[in-house]
Symmetry: C6
Subunit: 199 residues, 6 copies
Amino acid sequence: VNLNSYENNEVAGVVTGLAWTSVGGDILFIESTLSKGKGNLNITGNLGKVMKESATLAMEYIKANAEDFGLDSEVFSKYNVHIHVPEGATPKDGPSAGITMLTSLVSLFSQRKVKRNLAMTGEITLRGRVLPVGGIKEKILAAKRAKIKEIILCEENERDIKEIKEEYLKGLTFHYVKDMSEVLDIALLKQKVAKPKDL
Amino acid sequence: VNLNSYENNEVAGVVTGLAWTSVGGDILFIESTLSKGKGNLNITGNLGKVMKESATLAMEYIKANAEDFGLDSEVFSKYNVHIHVPEGATPKDGPSAGITMLTSLVSLFSQRKVKRNLAMTGEITLRGRVLPVGGIKEKILAAKRAKIKEIILCEENERDIKEIKEEYLKGLTFHYVKDMSEVLDIALLKQKVAKPKDL
Amino acid sequence: VNLNSYENNEVAGVVTGLAWTSVGGDILFIESTLSKGKGNLNITGNLGKVMKESATLAMEYIKANAEDFGLDSEVFSKYNVHIHVPEGATPKDGPSAGITMLTSLVSLFSQRKVKRNLAMTGEITLRGRVLPVGGIKEKILAAKRAKIKEIILCEENERDIKEIKEEYLKGLTFHYVKDMSEVLDIALLKQKVAKPKDL
Amino acid sequence: VNLNSYENNEVAGVVTGLAWTSVGGDILFIESTLSKGKGNLNITGNLGKVMKESATLAMEYIKANAEDFGLDSEVFSKYNVHIHVPEGATPKDGPSAGITMLTSLVSLFSQRKVKRNLAMTGEITLRGRVLPVGGIKEKILAAKRAKIKEIILCEENERDIKEIKEEYLKGLTFHYVKDMSEVLDIALLKQKVAKPKDL
Amino acid sequence: VNLNSYENNEVAGVVTGLAWTSVGGDILFIESTLSKGKGNLNITGNLGKVMKESATLAMEYIKANAEDFGLDSEVFSKYNVHIHVPEGATPKDGPSAGITMLTSLVSLFSQRKVKRNLAMTGEITLRGRVLPVGGIKEKILAAKRAKIKEIILCEENERDIKEIKEEYLKGLTFHYVKDMSEVLDIALLKQKVAKPKDL
Amino acid sequence: VNLNSYENNEVAGVVTGLAWTSVGGDILFIESTLSKGKGNLNITGNLGKVMKESATLAMEYIKANAEDFGLDSEVFSKYNVHIHVPEGATPKDGPSAGITMLTSLVSLFSQRKVKRNLAMTGEITLRGRVLPVGGIKEKILAAKRAKIKEIILCEENERDIKEIKEEYLKGLTFHYVKDMSEVLDIALLKQKVAKPKDL
Ligand SMILES: [Ca+2]
Ligand SMILES: [Ca+2]
Ligand SMILES: [Ca+2]
Ligand SMILES: [Ca+2]
Ligand SMILES: [Ca+2]
Ligand SMILES: [Ca+2]
Ligand SMILES: [Ca+2]
Ligand SMILES: [Ca+2]
Ligand SMILES: [Ca+2]
Ligand SMILES: [Ca+2]
Ligand SMILES: [Ca+2]
Ligand SMILES: [Ca+2]
């Protein structure tokens, strides 16, 4: 899937992540949507157990911090959330899409735009910490191939970046974070998407 | 199954797809029906996990864009939807029936006729993008054997068509699309089916 | 199980099918009953996934065409349906009992008698088409051994009959069909069963 | 388990069956109890799928023929039924306990005594037919060892009895049946159990 | 786990059982607690299917005989019961903890003390019979090592005790039972536990 | 994950445990959160069956002893609890996180701070006893590496500590406990966390 043809920050909830597969790094997209319902969470994209748990963690974090995001907590019981990771033929698992999922969901509920040309990878915890993940070198190479300009990583992954040859890092800006709130400050614009939903 | 004996655009929800199997390409049919209920989705035809996820994605997309299709969103909680892929002896999986399922469901809910002698193959995303799929050459040969005249593919699959000898393509018209709305514009006629249901 | 000792068209819902097993053809029986309930469907007889899907398809078809069978659609939410295929020691699967199940269910809901000395085999679709099935030669031999006189098959299975030696077909009448409605016209008598239930 | 120490027709629902195992025939007991509830069916005793289906069939048959047993059909939604087959260390499967389960349940709901020194084996169908089962010779030898005096079998199993040496059959009376109603006429006494429940 | 440090008949529901494992006999403890709820039964301790069925049987027996235990049957729908078998690292299965579980539950619901220095092993049936179990010799040796003084066994296990050398039995008193009511008469004191719950 | 960067006793429910893995000892964190709901328990972190059972046991213990913790028992039906063990890529199982989970949950419901530089390992029972666990030597070494100062263990694990060379124990204080209440007395401060939730 081509980034330019795919990425579109005119809609809420579409965020670019970085994945590590047995054949190297790759970019992946997280999409999420809301529909009127009773608070169910539906997850598709041929995901494994750990990746589904990441989605649950992200959702719980948003519920627990609803006020900080300016959200009325009633919204969680009035809408169903659907998270999808495209390219259904590929099984996907692991915790590294955690921050990507959270960013997608906060964009969705706040209807704020996601920064363009940005990718991210990092595990999340229930308390909002960001944990380091593996496969950093391969993920960075994939990000460059996809014309990504900025990357969000866990602070503890800075050591992995330092081991990569400088020429591979040219044109990339790195943001090192410890907490989910820092991810959201970087990734989400103040501006709402076109035709924002009124939740 | 013979296309002529099967296809019948007098009823809503019957759409022709293209499948790739270990013994070559094949056509397949998606059927869907509505019955009074509480909004359940029932999927049969010996389908694997990824193909069932496609059905869920298609259904979510329709719910999220109900207004664009002139649908009252109450309809989704008053009817059960059943999607079936005939030839139950054959296990079926993969994301490539996504656009076929979506077309079937929009035909069903709008009671619009599906264009005749048309087949399609492509993955869908939650946000309505169409993604490229594999096995294009085999699928095209199967479509020709079945007397298909028009084929809808993802824009990114055009490169696969260009690699096929011209003589195999004679008599076929290709439509390359990026978004689900383009698929529906091509595949669905304005005309309603015979004895349309009043939802 | 002996056909004469088993078959009894004095009760609704008992229909004879034809099965193909690893040791040759066989006849099988489909039984169904109604009990007051909330519209649940219970299926027993050591059936595999595809055969259970056939039962679901048959049930959906009847619901979608209730009016054509003179049925008040409220009946489906006021009764539970139980479908059973005797000889529980034998695992059973495949789509070929589809028309047998549908005939059983329409007999049950309409309380009409099933024609005697009749057997059938064919896959059904959600839209009521009958699809061809395999193992025709073995099934015909089993039907003869069981003193069956008439057999319903999909139109596309006629070619399989033409390949069977004439002497094996003596005494058998074949009905070739395309749609479920034709099956029901042949298999169900106008006459109600003894002591018909008033639904 | 010793028959004399176990069997007790002073309580409803305890019936002796005959089982065939890899090490020969054996007797088994079916127990059932009622407790106030919502009509749930609970089945224990390390049973396989087919044996659980037999319990379901038995229960459905009783519901469908409640009037014939003098039962008010409201009773089925006001009580939970629990069926247990003792000796939990042994996995048990197969359809041959069908008539034993049905007899247990009718005894339970009618609170009628079960005839003493009686055992039985046979598959049941949804419509109340009794089907033949295997392992007859081994089951008969086990019945004799356990001091059983009368045995109920399917009519079609008579041929298996005829192949057994007369000396092994001395002291045993056989009842051959076609329908469940015959089983119940033989197995259940008119007399109620001690302290019958008033359902 | 050391018996003296563990056992405490000041609380209801803690009962000592005897288990047979691949490395010899062992004692085990059954614990149970009540919490306000809707009558759910929760079972933990890494238990297999048969051992979970024992817990269900014990619970059903108590419900069916509530009056005999002086229990108001409303209590079963107002409390949740949790049964736990400590040492979660060890998988546990088999029917022999049946009488231990039942004793635990009757102690819990009646808030009566359990006799000290007592252990037991035996399968239970739905009707309250006690069935013999295996591994008796190993279980007795484990009981002695743990300073157990009295042991409850099924009457039919007496033959297994007679095959054990007298010196191994010194200091042990055996109770042989046929029915659950005998187990409870031996194992439960009339005295209530400290701070009995008022159900 | 680095202890200093992770541990933060300003929030309730974050507790440090000790784990034994095939590559040696390690520290792990238990996090828990509350969100308005109906009393559901959600557990993530790629946990096995036994570890999930520990979470259930901890929750049951708190419910059964709500008064002792100054908790209104209505709180359990008005909030959902989510327990998470970070580092989702690593499967985790075994009973030894029991006391860590309980401490996390009591901190959460009471909003009391957890003592800093403290780690613990021990199985819990339904009745609040603490049972010994394995891998003590490796766990102690991991605790030292992580700058832990105090460790809570089951009394019966004292013998394992005595077998470790004194130099490895320098700077560590051990607390040996028999009951959960002792764990909580040691691990939880009287002081509430910053911005305590008012449940
Ligand atoms: Ca890709
Ligand atoms: Ca990622
Ligand atoms: Ca085909
Ligand atoms: Ca397709
Ligand atoms: Ca047969
Ligand atoms: Ca058939
Ligand atoms: Ca036996
Ligand atoms: Ca039997
Ligand atoms: Ca032990
Ligand atoms: Ca035991
Ligand atoms: Ca670690
Ligand atoms: Ca631990």
